[in-house]
């Protein structure tokens, strides 16, 4: 007797899934953060060095990181990724299309501005300025200049009063850029710095001043760059390869395992959807090794189905009825699947713990994919198969991958 309620349950799972997945997959995909290797950009690791008068502390490293962050912001580069590694390292990742050389220069320039007396005594520094420096052209000469304003106008007023008629020099990173004579005390706290080659340079200096000087000097200890077009190509190629792999596996599973194979493949689509949803919602950055781990996870998810279906066929060959073969096969394959996947997770966790960069992102993707396998290939796929068998709609064991002989000998 056909039990339509069971079959309806089976259909509901499939329909509900596609009703959820089809309208949402696009936004889930768009929301995924891609790593530098997939969208281009560069990754630089800096070591924070001791300043001449001061040793680096953790606070110093944090302050340096904040200063770099501000600079990147003021240069208009979006979504920078900065992380402190170890005691004194800062990793900077910048994605997208821009001039990598200029961006690197922007990061390491220490941008220490100083005002000095004729005798070389330090009178004020970049720290005494408001963060509103801007580039402009001199209204009379048309030359580029940087307009700055002191936080405390009185400080600048005192300086200009004291050194009236003398020269107060302005230094940037140990280089004198200007040495003007003070004609009269400036009480408003505003000043201009001249001597830039063009407006672009003036703008750069204004950016540095606004972001503040780096408290400690940086040394680049490793770097890599990926051009955006190559990154895009890598992403496209990997997805294309994943698509081909899916089609091949689909054909194999359906031809060899028939109905349970088809159910396994539906579960695999669910697996893929679940995986990308998790990556998307948890804000995990998807890198090339990560993507490869996900595509390989597909292999593992299929394996879970193969283990269970083979077990089911064994039971059927031993003379069990279709339903009890399905139930026993699923039950007996469980310890194998659990042991195999737990060892995978152990390897993944250790990789995550001790790995860096690429290994870490591979490990994260790997762990997520093992968990997604459990939910889809183990739980949902089993439920679907049982509902289908219990519905009695398709009773011929051939459809469940049993050989014709096996079915007859029952």
């Amino acid at each position: 007797m056909i039990k339509w309620s069971r079959f309806l349950g089976f259909l509901m799972i499939v329909v509900l899934f596609f009703a959820l997945a089809i309208p949402t997959y696009q936004s889930i995909w768009n929301n995924i953060q891609l790593g530098l290797d997939l969208k281009g950009g560069f990754d630089v690791l800096y070591e924070v060095k001791d300043a001449p008068e001061e040793k680096v502390t953790m606070e110093g490293v944090i302050a340096t990181k904040n200063a770099i962050e501000k600079r990147i912001d003021s240069a208009g580069i979006s979504e920078p990724n900065l992380a402190i590694e170890g005691d004194n390292r800062i990793r900077v990742q910048l994605a997208g299309v821009f001039n990598q050389e200029e961006a690197k220069k922007l990061l390491v320039q220490s941008a220490e501005l100083e005002f000095k007396s004729p005798t070389g005594e330090k009178l004020a520094s970049g720290r005494d300025l408001k963060s509103n420096a801007r580039a402009q052209t001199d209204q009379q000469t048309g030359a580029p200049q940087v307009a700055v304003e002191f936080k405390d106008p009185k400080l600048f007023a005192d300086i200009t009063t004291k050194y009236v008629g003398q020269q107060v020099s302005i230094w940037l990173d140990g280089e004198m850029i200007q040495n003007p004579v003070i004609n009269e005390p400036i009480l408003t706290g505003s000043a201009v710095i001249n001597g830039q080659a063009d407006l672009k340079e003036a703008r750069e200096i204004a950016n540095y001043l606004n972001a503040g000087a780096l408290p400690f000097p940086l040394e680049e200890i490793s770097s890599f760059g990926v051009s955006p077009s190559l990154g895009e190509e890598a992403l496209h190629d990997t997805l294309y390869a994943g698509g081909i792999a899916f089609v091949l596996i689909f054909i194999f599973m359906v031809v060899y395992y028939r109905l349970p194979g088809l159910i396994g493949m539906i579960a695999l689509v669910m697996y893929t959807y679940l995986l990308f949803s998790v990556v998307s919602f948890m804000g995990i950055t998807l890198t090339l090794p990560g993507l490869a781990a996900l595509i390989l996870g597909v292999g593992m998810a299929v394996d879970v189905n193969i283990i269970a279906i083979e077990r089911m066929k064994d039971e059927f060959r031993n003379g069990k009825s279709l339903l009890s073969a399905v139930i026993m096969g699923q039950k007996r394959s469980m310890p194998t699947i659990i042991d195999a996947n737990i060892t995978s997770i152990i390897a993944g966790v250790l990789m995550y713990w001790f790995g860096t960069g690429a290994i870490k992102s591979f490990a994260v993707a790997h762990i997520i994919s093992v968990l997604a396998t459990f939910i889809t290939a183990v739980l949902i796929s089993r439920l679907m198969l049982q509902l289908l068998v219990r519905s009695n709609l398709i009773k011929n064991p051939w459809w469940y991958g049993a050989s014709k002989k096996g079915g007859a000998s029952k």
Binding site: A234, A241, F252, I295, L296, A340, I342, F362
Partner: protein
């Protein structure tokens, strides 16, 4: 009657020992082609856009840019990888960029540089990760099965790693951080395969009466054959994925996928012909002991 796999185990052991010796000799004589990730220095990858002789590029860069080039390697799509043992400075990097872009319009240079300290740290971490993963797996398997299974499984796994690394040494493929990710995946899969077989052995141990070595051999033979379809089909599907990644996945993961294909096939072989067989040989000693006592 199915082929008696267990009876011929001495042949597989001999074959594996031979492969391992060849592998170790290859690694010792040819050395590994370590990428900048593990060997300090700089690596410049760019597109030449036409067929070229690596020696010409090496000469041009040495004379025009005054850089000490260690090696130039041709890669897919008329690309070139230039290796410099010394880590180049930011200024040198800028001039390399300018030089290549002027000389080859589609160069799109990608430069990576690694300081010796960072390179050593990375290599150490990669080795730690593999050792720790092995220890973790041994402990788990010893807990779930018995230590004989665990050790046999790990020996078989190490054999797979050795084969993959020596093939990479033979063909001078670059060993970089993604290769390590590949090795770690292979380790995972190889253990996966071994566990499926061991699990069947463990289950059959409950039903078989094992008194002699012959009984034990019979049991393992049956277990291996019972899981054979699964072993083959799983390797097939995984080779579909890794093979598609190799053929269509683009240059950054070409070697990654190649390592996987080699490792997965070797892993399946090794779990059947090494892991299970090592366990039989070891376990059968346990059977003989009470007799002689």
């Amino acid at each position: 009657m199915k082929f008696d796999i267990v009876k011929n185990r001495k042949w597989y052991f001999g074959f594996s020992v031979l492969i391992s010796i060849i592998g170790i000799i290859l690694m010792l004589t040819m050395g590994l082609n370590l990428g900048t990730d593990f060997k300090a220095g700089s690596r410049v990858q760019f597109t030449v856009g036409q067929a070229f002789d690596p020696a010409d590029i090496e000469k041009a860069i040495e004379t025009d840019l005054k850089l000490d080039v260690a090696a130039v390697q041709a890669i897919e799509n008329n690309g070139a990888v230039v290796r410099i043992d010394k880590k180049i400075t930011a200024d040198e990097e800028a001039s390399v960029n300018k030089y290549l872009t002027e000389k080859y319009p589609n160069a799109m240079p990608q430069i990576s540089s690694v300081d010796p300290v960072v390179a050593r740290e990375l290599a150490e971490k990669a080795i730690y990760a593999i050792i720790l993963a092995s220890v973790g797996i041994i402990l788990y398997m010893a807990f779930r099965f018995e230590y004989k299974f665990a050790i046999s499984g790990v020996i078989s796994m190490l054999q797979v790693v050795l084969v993959v690394v020596s093939i990479f040494a033979l063909f001078r493929f670059e060993i970089d951080i993604t290769f390590i990710a590949a090795v770690l995946t292979i380790v995972g899969y190889s253990i996966h395969d071994t566990i499926v077989i061991f699990d069947r052995i463990r289950e059959n141990l409950k039903h078989y009466k094992v008194k002699t070595t012959a009984d034990l051999e019979q049991l393992v033979n049956d277990s291996v054959w019972q899981t054979m379809t699964r072993s083959i089909n799983t390797v097939l599907t995984v080779v579909f994925s890794a093979g598609a990644l190799y053929l269509f996945g683009g240059s950054p993961i070409k070697h990654f996928s190649l390592a996987l294909v080699i490792g997965l096939v070797t892993g399946a072989y090794s779990s059947i012909f090494i892991a299970a067989q090592l366990w039989v040989s070891w376990k059968s000693r346990e059977l003989k002991k009470p007799k002689s006592a």
